[in-house]
């Protein structure tokens, strides 16, 4: 097998180990946080008058009832991402990549109580949690050489990525219609990437790669908020936040084994000596990669039409930062009480990609998939407690370039569905 064959094979393989696509860093609304807030599609900046307000707009908890409040939310979420026509079979058929993700976790817990002139809150949020898996086995994959196709191709992916926020909030009213508040979250991100693949060629050569990476980020996420009620039934909310990474530990390990040919070849920025045709190549390194996150600002408007009806909307701006483009997302929500014991909520939201549209002729472009979502929930109230059952659905279409240094563009789809069950108390 000559050098160009090897290059082709490496192109086929390398897309599995780029650093930038290990987790879904391309979107900001990977999981809608909160109880009532989730039902409203996350349009909560101008409402925020319960424990979820600590996350959306801490100024809102100043409007919480005098009683203490607590809320907890449990979410079961599944997601499927499909990259279409990534591989071509010998018979001309196309093959898709399918990655699935699911997680069951406590998504939010918060308490708010009156302290002095204001309200003190304490909350825990998981704004992003994925456990992505891909387990696919392909046969008879075409290569540029008709006499030596890939006979077997096995790929396993097992990625997990979670972001945690925990911290206090305080809000106080400056007047009957104006409140300010702040939250200081401690930020922790725990990522683990495990990927392996094996190619077996018809003429006997094989290629094996295992990639392992862990990344831990520690930092802070301050949130400042303000709510102004120009009228009794209208509220305008504004909040700004930014995640600041203070400490990072990244560890990567690559293991290659191949029986293809000799010579130095560039793989993912590294040179490897394949002169020994039956060798194992190992590389392990620790890094300190502090990622910069953009600041975000949300402007919300809520109209409390009556005690039974609420309309609310948010516009959220995420700034640009190095490899992330600026994004504007929208959310709209409504709440209706059928009776004092039963409320229905519905929300629409966007989750646009923070990447440029993919253009023809370029290589190594980040995937660009815009997601649109619908949330709905029912809440049962009884005396001092309530429970909420809700479902969230998101769907997006876009494009991706899965193969390194290739101008080929693949269509991509994301489909998310999650169910949540939450409880809230007054005490």
């Amino acid at each position: 097998m000559n050098t160009s064959t090897l290059k082709y094979l490496l192109i086929l393989l390398v897309f599995l180990v780029p650093n930038s696509v290990l987790a879904d860093d391309f979107h900001y609304v990977n999981m809608i946080v909160g109880n009532r807030a989730a039902g409203l599609g996350g349009a909560y900046s101008a409402v925020s008058d319960d424990p979820s307000g600590c996350y959306y707009n801490p100024a809102g908890i100043a409007f919480a009832p005098e009683m203490s409040l607590s809320a907890s939310v449990n979410v079961f979420g599944t997601s499927e991402k499909t990259y279409k026509d990534v591989l071509t079979r010998v018979n001309g058929g196309k093959l898709d990549w399918k990655q699935e993700s699911s997680s069951l976790l406590p998504n939010y817990f918060g308490v708010v109580r009156k302290i002095g002139r204001g309200r003190l809150g304490l909350s825990y949020a998981v704004p992003d949690s994925t456990h992505r898996r891909q387990k696919q086995y392909f046969k008879d994959i075409a290569t540029v050489y008709e006499d030596n196709p890939v006979e077997s191709y096995l790929i396993h992916i097992n990625d997990s990525d979670k972001e945690y926020l925990f911290g206090p909030s305080y809000a106080m009213s400056l007047s009957d219609s104006l409140s300010v508040g702040a939250t200081m979250y401690f930020y922790y991100r725990d990522m683990e990437i495990i990927r392996s693949q094996l190619l077996q060629f018809q003429q006997g050569e094989h290629y094996f790669i295992n990639y392992y990476k862990t990344r831990k980020d520690r930092g802070i996420k301050p949130i400042l908020g303000l709510i102004w009620e120009p009228y009794d039934t209208v509220a305008i909310g504004l909040s700004v936040s930014q995640t600041i990474i203070l400490d990072n530990d990244t560890h990567t390990t690559d293991i290659f084994r191949e029986t293809i040919s000799g010579g130095f070849t560039l793989v993912d920025g590294q040179e490897y000596d394949f002169s020994d045709t039956d060798s194992i190549h190992f590389q392990s390194q620790d890094q300190d990669n502090k990622e910069d996150y953009p600041w975000s600002g949300s402007l919300g408007l809520a109209w409390f039409v009556s005690p039974s009806l609420l309309f609310t909307g948010d516009i959220t701006f995420h700034g640009s930062e190095k490899d992330k483009e600026s994004v504007v997302n929208f959310a709209l929500g409504t709440e209706y009480y059928f009776s004092r014991n039963l409320a229905w909520r519905c929300g629409l939201y966007t989750d646009f990609a923070n990447t440029d549209k993919i253009s023809d002729g370029d290589t190594n472009q980040k995937e660009n998939i815009d997601v649109y979502g619908l949330n709905t929930s029912l809440t049962l109230f009884h005396k001092l407690s309530n429970i909420t059952m809700g479902v969230s659905y998101g769907y997006g279409k876009g494009e991706a370039q899965m193969i390194t240094d290739s101008t080929l563009i693949q269509d991509a789809e994301i489909e998310n569905i999650s169910f949540y069950l939450s409880a809230a108390y007054k005490y």
Binding site: M67, V305, S306, Y337, S385, N386, A424, Y427
Partner: protein
């Protein structure tokens, strides 16, 4: 077609604005949070149980007056006005505390205490009835119950599921313990809210007047004790002290309700017979 859509949109927005105007004042309050005073049997039981615990705490700070006659007399007067409290589901208990200070306490569920020092300053039964009525009004209006949100156990399926999801039991237990501390702090240190004090004055006057006592009893007693007591810690406006506000409110209440004729009894003789034999 577009015109029709515009008309529908206009009507919809107009209707929503009208509804919004009608409900102006409710603001953020949601339907589930309105009328939070609705009670059931478990709430009543919780009120009485909480009041009993609070009464025990009061008796932990004071000694009961060892005089059966005086205690019996105060119970008779107290229950006479409590008949008009509007809370027939409560059984009222009155007791005299052996303390020289001038004070009175009310614990939810019907427990009322008055000090020997307060009785010493009184001149007639109408004043005693006025003070006891004021304390009874704190109970009937549930001032502590509302402020601390004392509620009964929620045995509904909703609450059960909520407990299961969020594990609230321990939180609720600790919260009730905290509430007891807060209630004791209200009684012994920081006092009731001003609006609650004024409401208790207004209702107390009417209660004692309906029971046949002179409506001036509470006013006369307050006028006398203002020289002996420090100002209410919750009301620090020196230009307009708490006593003055209360006396003005009492005057207005008497006037508005047509009680200025003051034809009712003071029962001075019976009072002296039992309290100052």
């Amino acid at each position: 077609m577009r015109t029709r859509i515009n008309v529908v949109l206009f009507i919809l927005i107009f209707a929503l604005l009208t509804v919004s105007f009608v409900f102006a004042g409710e603001g953020r309050r949601r339907l589930s949070a309105l009328d939070e005073n609705y009670d059931d049997q478990s709430d009543l039981e919780a009120e009485i149980s909480f009041g009993r615990d609070l009464a025990a705490r009061i008796l932990g700070n004071y000694t009961l007056l060892d005089n059966v006659g005086v205690n019996h007399y105060v119970n008779l007067v107290g229950n006479a006005v409590a008949l008009y409290s509007g809370r027939p589901e409560l059984k009222f208990h009155f007791a005299v505390l052996d303390a020289g200070e001038c004070n009175a306490f009310a614990a939810p569920g019907g427990y009322v205490f008055i000090t020997r020092g307060a009785l010493d300053l009184m001149e007639n039964e109408a004043q005693l009835a006025g003070v006891l009525s004021h304390e009874i009004a704190h109970i009937t209006e549930k001032h502590i119950v509302k402020e601390l949100n004392i509620r009964g156990a929620d045995d509904s399926i909703t609450a059960g599921l909520a407990n299961l999801i969020g594990g609230s039991t321990d939180t609720m237990r600790k919260t009730l313990e905290q509430a007891l501390e807060t209630a004791a702090d209200i009684l012994f240190n920081r006092g009731y809210k001003i609006k609650d004090e004024l409401e208790a004055d207004q209702i107390g006057i009417l209660m004692s007047a309906v029971a046949g006592y002179s409506p001036d009893g509470l006013k006369n007693f307050l006028s006398k004790v203002k020289h002996f007591e420090p100002e209410d810690a919750t009301y620090k406006n020196k230009e307009h002290p708490m006593h003055m506000v209360r006396l003005e409110t009492i005057d207005q209440t008497i006037k508005i309700n047509g009680l200025t004729q003051n034809l009712n009894a003071t029962m001075k003789g019976r009072f002296n017979e039992h309290i100052n034999p």
